[in-house]
């Protein structure tokens, strides 16, 4: 027992960090691509994409969780198809990561999109005249310039993932060791007689993790912004 935490409580902390980490890391490439498309793309359906991306922000989390369950449960065609290639979400920690990723996605995309819109496209033109292909322009000019925004988006998504409750519990339930993340664990302890002590310890842990993450990301963002501005 460290910090007076029991094994069940530790399990919830570790699971939450793992879920939030994978949710953020896997959402990031897609988030950058979608932000790029929304900021720069001129295609039919751009507004529709914008609406779909933002839906998790305005829908009740329970609705998002239920929609995920409807489409990805082993009974649904999509869930079946994924199961046949070995990907299972329902009632697994991977499902918790997916739910957390979906809920944090709009926040991530908004932050990255703002950063992309702040990039001077004339710098990218200059890079092209210097012989850089579109991919090279993106990797060597656009990406370094939007890095502070990407980091901000990742931190927001991570924080959202750490705190996600409604969609997670609806989609993958509250299974100790598998889908019982910090918020679910706090909720579960509060339902048990005498569970207040454990719940309170987890609340403290939540506050500490959130504070450390925010302070570290602020410092990192400042350092990156300095680097980018030159």
């Amino acid at each position: 027992m460290i910090l007076g935490l029991g094994p069940q409580e530790w399990e919830a902390v570790r699971l939450s960090l793992r879920v939030a980490f994978w949710a953020t890391v896997l959402a990031l490439p897609l988030g950058i691509a979608v932000a790029m498309a929304l900021a720069r793309g001129r295609f039919w359906g751009r507004e529709l994409l914008n609406v779909v991306v933002h839906l998790p922000l305005v829908l009740p989390p329970v609705v998002v969780g239920y929609l995920l369950l409807l489409s990805l449960s082993p009974a649904a065609p999509l869930g079946q198809a994924l199961q046949s290639i070995g990907i299972v979400f329902a009632f697994r920690w991977t499902g918790a990561a997916l739910a957390a990723g979906v809920m944090g996605f709009p926040l991530m995309v908004r932050a990255i999109r703002l950063a992309i819109e702040a990039v001077d496209p004339r710098l990218e033109e200059a890079a092209a005249t210097l012989g850089a292909s579109r991919l090279r322009v993106f990797v060597t000019v656009t990406l370094p310039l939007i890095l502070p925004g990407v980091l901000a988006g990742a931190v927001l998504a991570f924080a959202k993932a750490m705190g996600e409750f409604g969609a997670t519990i609806t989609f993958v339930s509250n299974i100790p060791g598998e889908t019982r993340t910090l918020p679910s664990a706090i909720y579960a302890f509060l339902q048990q007689p005498g569970g207040e002590g454990a719940a309170l310890r987890l609340v403290v842990i939540s506050v500490v993790i959130a504070t450390v993450a925010l302070v570290a990301s602020e410092a990192l963002a400042r350092a990156m912004a300095r680097r980018v501005r030159g």
Partner: protein
């Protein structure tokens, strides 16, 4: 290497129609703001897609709308020096210079040529305007271009900085053998650098041809601005005098100019502003002006105001003189009249003398 441009495009209210050809050296696109100069350069770079037209650089077709050819910007091999430098803020000067370079073999030489070897580890933000302009030129040069595009590279600089950079550009023109398409609305820069001049007005090419011929054309004076009109004389330094004056041989005689740098025998291009030239029917005596060239009137061109632009032949060179209509009538000037062109030495500013 030759460049041939023939494009048509709609720019807001202005119909851009630019057709010209040039054989290497510096080709200056000259015209007022909004004349379409930058659009022509952007079309050559591939940053603007003209509605129709054809652009050929050497033996490479960069654009041919009719044939469906439109080479991507990054494959055109044009070095573009933008008016606003556009250095990458997240890279050091070295990183900027090498961005488009195949390797760093020429870094030292180019940095040396542009006088930026001491700045390599700085960030663009820490550079002055003149330093940024030079880094932008170096970056374009190091990308191994087949053509250099320069859009008012000196516009954001004060006179002293311009004087500092113009010699670099002259060296580029004379030593690198790289064709340069140069946009400017500053007559002095164009007079210093251009071999070929393309005059643009409201999207149309008014005239295109050798710089000397166009600068000596009295009919084009209104476009250059009557106060800025002036012919270009080519000459050769023959002696530096002890009192700080330089003697320059021109085809019609000799000119005494305020001290010009360079060894004897060096070829120069001197711009004589039309408003600094006086005309006299007899060789003036007891006059402070040091330069008196025998000349013959070739044409007179009436302007809108009380002035007349007179073109004179002095040897093989042409000179422009801007005088009042009253004087022209009093002297009974007409094509063929023999007279003397009187030019004060101090009227020729250092910026009016360049290498050729």
């Amino acid at each position: 290497m030759s460049l041939s441009v023939d494009i048509r495009h709609q720019l807001g209210d202005t119909a851009l129609a630019a057709t010209f050809e040039t054989e290497g050296g510096v080709t200056a696109l000259f015209g007022r703001s909004g004349a379409g100069k930058t659009s022509v350069v952007n079309a050559v770079a591939g940053l603007l897609r003209p509605r129709e037209g054809r652009i050929v650089l050497g033996d490479r077709v960069l654009l041919d709308r009719a044939a469906g050819i439109d080479v991507a910007v990054h494959r055109r091999r044009v070095g573009y020096v933008f008016q606003d430098a556009r250095l990458f803020p997240h890279l050091s000067v070295r990183g900027n210079l090498l961005f488009g370079a195949p390797d760093d073999r020429h870094l030292g030489r180019i940095a040396d040529l542009l006088g930026i070897e001491g700045l390599l580890d700085r960030r663009p933000r820490a550079l002055s305007g003149g330093e940024k302009a030079r880094v932008a030129i170096g970056r374009a040069l190091l990308s191994d271009p087949a053509l250099l595009l320069m859009d008012e590279p000196l516009a954001s600089l004060d006179q002293a900085r311009k004087e500092e950079i113009l010699p670099y550009l002259e060296r580029l023109r004379d030593e690198a053998g790289l064709p340069i398409l140069y946009v400017s609305h500053a007559v002095e820069e164009v007079a210093r650098l251009a071999n070929t001049l393309v005059l643009l007005d409201r999207g149309q090419v008014v005239r295109a041809g050798p710089a000397e011929a166009l600068f000596a054309d009295p009919g084009l004076a209104p476009m250059l601005g009557p106060r800025a009109a002036g012919a270009l004389l080519s000459g050769q330094i023959t002696a530096h005098h002890a009192d700080g004056l330089t003697e320059v041989a021109v085809s019609g005689g000799r000119l005494i100019l305020p001290g010009v740098g360079g060894a004897e025998g060096r070829r120069l291009r001197v711009r004589i502003e039309a408003q600094d030239v006086m005309l006299s029917l007899t060789r003036p005596e007891g006059i402070s002006a040091l330069n008196i060239l025998p000349a013959r009137v070739t044409t007179l061109h009436d302007g809108q105001g009380p002035g007349v632009m007179v073109q004179l032949a002095a040897g093989k060179d042409l000179i422009l003189a801007r005088i009042t209509r009253r004087s022209a009538e009093a002297l009974a000037l007409a094509p063929g009249t023999e007279c003397y062109a009187v030019i004060k030495s101090v009227a020729v500013a250092p910026g009016d003398v360049g290498r050729s």
